[in-house]
């Protein structure tokens, strides 16, 4: 299978769906790029994810907008209920705050308030996460906020394969989807089929199976968790690593199944810890899987603080393998690991 970067995988997903379905459009700041025209200056977004779409599909379907997030999402939500399948790009997830009304009160509510008769097939793509020295206003991991809102689906891919399949599913889905791409993952490579494929939402990926503990991790933290898992294996501790892929809907069954097999749970999330994905999974397992647990549930998250700009502080802010290993070791008794 060919190897591709996550950037290429995302680009391929959009291009293939735009070829298949003429109602799919792309709208956002600099999605064509450059001076608003086609050709060499059309960079395709800050990280080049939409590069080439303007050339192939024209400026009627790939629309550069002014810097006004509320107008981008308002336009896209309106276009969605009117029959198009817009992919709106908002650069940084941090900026979604300026269009919460369009997202929370409009797009997320249409199906409910119109008695199930309205569809809002809208995808909102944005970059998430720390690690590129972009400061407190461009580095947050805000998936938990959107997970809280019924009517939204929330996708946090960790690999190029997942990114393509989940974005195709997001475009084909009839509800608004918040699609969050971690800035540090655009250049990672992985096997991605050339053909189109859709990964259903609410289906976790189990990357590794062990018997001592389960680690649930998202997005970039899946890679940190896998690193921790291989280091733990050399110490005789075998862990299961679960990537839920989507926080809404959440694959509770797979998480519970893995906790039942291992009896221990560590949740890794680079978001802030209060009212978060990590607390949500911890509460769900305490509620539905308490009998499986042999030890307390541990969370490895960012602190309840903004993302620091100083590089050393930013690096200390994001969960790393050492913290995950310490969390797992704190709940896996020595005699258990040796057994």
């Amino acid at each position: 299978m060919p190897k591709k970067s996550m950037r290429t995988a995302l680009n391929e997903a959009m291009a293939q769906e735009m070829r298949r379905d003429p109602t799919v459009i792309v709208i956002g700041e600099d999605v064509v790029g450059g001076q608003g025209g086609l050709g060499e200056t059309s960079v395709g977004g800050v990280f080049g994810v939409t590069k080439g779409l303007g050339e192939e599909f024209g400026l009627d379907r790939v629309i550069d907008t002014p810097i006004t997030e509320s107008a981008i999402i308002g336009t896209a939500a309106g276009a969605a209920v009117a029959g198009l399948r817009p992919i709106a790009e908002l650069m940084f997830v941090d900026f979604l705050g300026v269009c919460f009304d369009q997202i929370f009160n409009q797009a997320a509510k249409f199906r409910y308030m119109f008695g199930g008769k309205a569809r809002t097939p809208l995808v909102i793509r944005a970059m998430t996460g720390a690690g590129v020295r972009a400061g407190a206003q461009h580095s947050q991991a805000l998936h938990s906020i959107f997970t809280h809102i019924p009517g939204l689906k929330v996708v946090v891919p960790s690999s190029p394969y997942d990114a393509k399949g989940l974005l195709i599913q997001a475009i084909r889905d009839d509800d608004p989807v918040i699609f969050l791409e971690h800035k540090t993952l655009y250049d990672i490579e992985g096997e991605v089929p050339d053909e189109a494929y859709a990964i259903p939402f609410g289906e976790a990926n189990v990357l590794r199976e062990g018997r001592h503990a389960t680690i649930v991790a998202l997005s970039r933290q899946v890679h940190t968790a896998m690193d921790a898992a291989s280091q733990l294996a050399s110490k005789g501790i075998e862990v299961t690593v679960v990537d839920p892929r989507t926080t809404s809907p959440l694959d509770e069954d797979t998480i519970l199944e893995c906790v039942e097999e291992t009896g221990r749970l560590v949740i890794v999330d680079e978001a802030n810890p209060r009212c978060s994905f990590a607390t949500d999974v911890a509460a769900m397992v305490a509620d539905k899987g308490f009998a499986f647990l042999k030890a307390p549930v541990r969370m490895v998250t960012a602190p309840h603080a903004p993302v620091p700009f100083a590089p050393v502080l930013e690096d200390a802010y994001v969960p790393d393998a050492a913290r995950i290993i310490a969390a797992v070791e704190s709940i896996v008794a020595n005699e258990e690991a040796a057994a």
Binding site: M1, E195, Y197, A198, I199, V206, L207, E209, D253
Partner: protein, 364 residues
């Protein structure tokens, strides 16, 4: 021997990136001989053994049972008794992982050939030597032969193809019947300009091989049939329809467990690999079309016993005694081998017997 030999993690198939050591078959300090099984290894898809690369004493067990390491990584060291410990320590310290992609008989990139309206993906390894063509079963693919193909590639020209609707081949199905698929495989052989080949078919692919040899005797040098369709009417039709329709890992897992005698072989990672294929656009439709073409009210549509009986070529027949997909009784009745503690996947659960059976009938 002179010097020091490395036991390394093998690569069984292109998709294998790491393997887990599941057992030592030779104790530390014990003598072993070149070609004797020395370790047991498991990947996400396969379990098997690795032969000692040299004759000597197992001087070091570099990794522990249960450990997972990348392919090519050092697992153990064999050397004569007179080699010093310092030399072995230095060998381990400076060991560079073997790049298995370029080993003799190693993996080659898959290739695509156009056959009529179909694009057929295939994986060719090894050569020179007699040509062996692997034809997978319903929902399978070329990579599923991994270990068997890898071993035979040492002295055969081996080709594993993806049937239409499967693997990386195009997904549209023109005629999903055994005879229809056999005609496409015959065109594939002509497109590659191959003479008579040694056909190895599993399950539906076994039925395809019988139909192919019957329609084009000049294309078949021998047949090795593993749990083939076409020998009787009985088949677990529920398995086929569950496999064809399941879209999620948790729905696929119970179906996959029916394939093996040892259900522990069905890991979540294996199930995820299967649903990766199931998610591709066009696959559900392709499998449904094939299912309609090969089944009739829950029974096999084509019974090819007379075609098989009429073949002049040597035929090897194998099935797992615990096959829960196609009952193995017809294989036994025809004098075939029933493998104990093996389910519907002899190439995974008993690869050594499959390799031996192919070697016995294959000819140039």
């Amino acid at each position: 021997m002179t010097g020091i030999a490395a036991i390394t993690m093998p690569r069984w198939g292109l998709t294998m990136e790491e393997g887990t050591l599941t057992g030592w078959l030779v104790g530390l300090g014990e003598e072993t001989r070149q070609g004797v099984d020395v370790i047991e290894v498991e990947s996400t898809k396969l379990a098997g053994t690795v032969e000692a690369p040299a004759t000597g004493i197992l001087r070091r067990q570099v990794i522990a049972v249960g450990q997972t390491v990348p392919v090519g990584a050092l697992v153990g060291v064999i050397a004569d008794a007179d080699v010093g410990d310092e030399a072995i320590d230095a060998f381990i310290a400076t060991f560079a992982p073997v790049d298995l992609d370029v080993e003799e008989g190693g993996a080659s990139e898959p290739r695509i050939v156009s056959v009529g309206e179909h694009r057929i993906n295939y994986l060719r390894k090894g050569g020179p030597g007699p040509v062996v063509l692997f034809v997978h079963g319903f929902g399978g693919d070329a990579a599923g032969w991994g270990f068997v193909q890898e071993v035979l590639a040492a002295d055969h020209d081996t080709i594993a193809l993806d049937l239409p609707g499967h693997g990386a081949s195009s997904k549209a199905i023109s005629d999903g019947s055994l005879a229809g698929q056999a005609a496409i495989v015959a065109d594939f052989l002509r497109a590659l300009d191959l003479g008579p080949v040694n056909l190895v078919g599993h399950s539906m692919g076994g039925g395809v091989c019988i139909a192919l040899a019957a329609a084009h005797p000049d294309h078949a040098a021998s047949l090795t049939l593993l749990a083939p369709m076409g020998l009787g009417a009985e088949i677990n039709a529920d398995y086929l329809s569950t496999f064809a329709t399941a879209q999620r890992r948790r729905d696929v897992e119970p179906a996959l467990r029916l394939l093996f005698a040892d259900e522990a072989l069905v890991t979540k990672a294996l199930a995820e690999e299967v649903v990766k294929y199931k998610r591709v656009d066009g696959v559900s439709e392709a499998l449904a079309a094939i299912e309609r073409a090969i089944l009739d009210h829950g029974s096999q549509k084509a019974v090819l016993r007379e075609d098989l009986a009429g073949l002049a070529q040597p035929v090897a027949l194998l099935a797992g005694a615990e096959d829960r997909i196609i009952p193995p009784a017809p294989v036994a009745a025809l004098g075939g081998t029933l493998l104990p503690s093996v389910g519907h996947m002899p190439q995974v659960e008993a690869p050594d017997q499959v390799i031996a059976a192919i070697r016995k009938v294959a000819r140039a």
